[in-house]
């Protein structure tokens, strides 16, 4: 049985895993899970992971959730080029440092902006108070600044001269608010230059393919599922 990756490309961590697998020619079966349709709550998916989040992996009898864990597992199993997750302890630690920080450092904020600016108002018809949106934008702004100043600094990539898992995870998060119409790169030449390098290293075609869904505007969703999603998201972000 081929490796299965359960993905919804609206999700940042799914995009990171997708780009990594494709870039490294890792053979896998793409199993689409539509988050907006609540497919992560289905019985079948529950057998893969009780964490009920995407991305998820099934490799024979072995199932795994959490994109960071999946990326590390794939890098090891398929013996990808050293620069993705170097054997050198200090370089590896530097990448782990970013992969740890980013959960609350950027992921939270990019997601929030995407929901508050696009999905809540345009898809679910919920009015978002301006002060909440402003606060989210401010948090995102601080995060992007930290990424530039602390993680990229004057290096081509987060870990140094080469692209690594850190950049792959970072770029997907940074792109999320772009999907809601916010040009995060405006006024941030360092971040733009980094984005260009990451895009070139991944390959423009793969990068664009991975981001097609998020840049496609307001997604379509089953109206009957909206109410449940609405309450959940309001509780989470408002």
């Amino acid at each position: 049985m081929a490796l299965e990756l359960y993905l919804d490309l609206h999700s940042q961590p799914c995009r990171s895993v997708y780009m990594f697998a494709k870039k490294n020619n890792i053979p896998f079966e793409f199993k689409k899970i539509s988050l907006l349709d609540g497919e992560q709550y289905g019985e079948e998916f529950g057998k893969i992971t009780l964490i009920r989040q995407v991305p998820a992996l099934r490799d024979g009898d072995f199932c795994l959730a959490e994109s960071i864990a999946i990326l590390l597992y794939l890098a090891e199993k398929f013996k990808t080029a050293d620069f993705w997750y170097p054997a050198d302890l200090q370089q590896r630690a530097r990448i782990n440092e970013y992969l740890s920080w980013q959960h609350t450092g950027i992921r939270l904020h990019g997601s929030k902006v995407f929901w508050l600016q696009l999905l809540l108002p345009k898809l679910l018809g919920v009015e978002v108070p301006q002060d909440k949106l402003d606060a989210a934008l401010e948090d995102l702004d601080s995060s992007l600044k930290l990424i530039e100043e602390k993680f990229i600094q004057d290096k081509p990539f987060i870990a140094g001269d080469h692209i690594s898992l850190a950049d792959l995870v970072a770029i997907a998060e940074v792109m999320q608010p772009v999907g809601s119409g916010l040009d995060v790169f405006e006024g941030r030449p360092k971040l733009s230059a980094w984005r260009d390098r990451v895009q070139a290293a991944i390959g423009k075609e793969l990068f664009d393919e991975a981001h097609q869904m998020i840049l496609g505007g307001v997604p379509v969703m089953d109206v009957s599922k909206m109410q449940v999603l609405k309450s959940k998201i309001i509780r989470l972000f408002l």
């Binding site: 795994l64 597992y73 302890l89």
Partner: protein, 228 residues
């Protein structure tokens, strides 16, 4: 300047991830030197500390000039660098992946939800002199409750520790977070025998390193009790 290799760690034992690092260094027998950074006194905001870590957070590890932040990165680095017993961060890919899975999940679940309870019950009232916001506390407790359910069903189901049959760095991170609300006199594992048994197993595996790391938290609990 002292010769010989000794890892330096900048810690405040009121911080959950700092305690996890402290316990690990003791249990794994890694020679180290602790530099205390008292957050409540703003020692993380001094120019000296800021030079070391511009994010002004603890823990920070310095190993022969190599500076590293983020407790999970530190734990994984130490486990590999210092040839500790393998169970802490297994080398076998599937077992390692289980630890990576938990340490990732931890950030958005165990850590924020347990920390929030402590913040609402102890930190905020202490800082502002106001009463506990009961409404927010009830919501925070409910969220923590969900997380505890998940720990039981997703991680501890049919195994002694979070990631398998042996203790790993994941258990250290989790236990330190779940201990934090004790500072306000609240045992969040009350009424949860499965998690209590796990806690006992962790405490046995760690032995005195556990109480040593938590001494300050216990003192905060005792002062809090005395005030009530």
């Amino acid at each position: 300047m002292a010769a010989g290799r000794q890892v330096e760690v900048y810690l405040d034992l009121m911080s959950q991830p700092c305690r996890a690092v402290h316990i690990f260094l003791s249990c794994a027998g890694i020679p180290h030197r602790v530099r205390t950074v008292a957050l409540r006194k703003g020692e993380n905001r001094t120019p000296e500390f800021t030079k070391l870590n511009p994010m002004q957070k603890v823990p920070v590890m310095v190993d022969s000039g190599f500076v590293l932040t983020e407790s999970d990165a530190i734990l994984k680095y130490l486990a590999t660098r210092y040839n500790v017993p393998e169970h802490w961060y297994p080398r076998q890919p599937e077992r390692r992946a289980r630890v990576d899975e938990y340490t990732a999940w931890h950030h958005s679940n165990t850590r924020p939800h347990a920390a929030k309870v402590f913040m609402l019950e102890v930190l905020l009232p202490a800082q502002s002199g106001s009463q506990v916001d009961e409404g927010r506390l009830i919501r925070a407790l409910s969220q923590l409750d969900d997380t505890l359910d998940k720990l039981e069903t997703m991680f501890l189901r049919r195994q002694a520790f979070l990631c398998g049959d042996d203790i790993t760095v994941a258990d250290l991170l989790a236990i330190c977070e779940l201990m934090q609300p004790l500072g306000g006199g609240r045992d969040v594992l009350q009424g949860r025998p499965q998690l209590q048994r796990w806690r006992s197993r962790v405490q046995s595996a760690i032995s005195d390193a556990f109480d040593r790391a938590h001494a300050i938290l216990y003192a905060v609990r005792d002062r809090h009790k005395a005030k009530l």
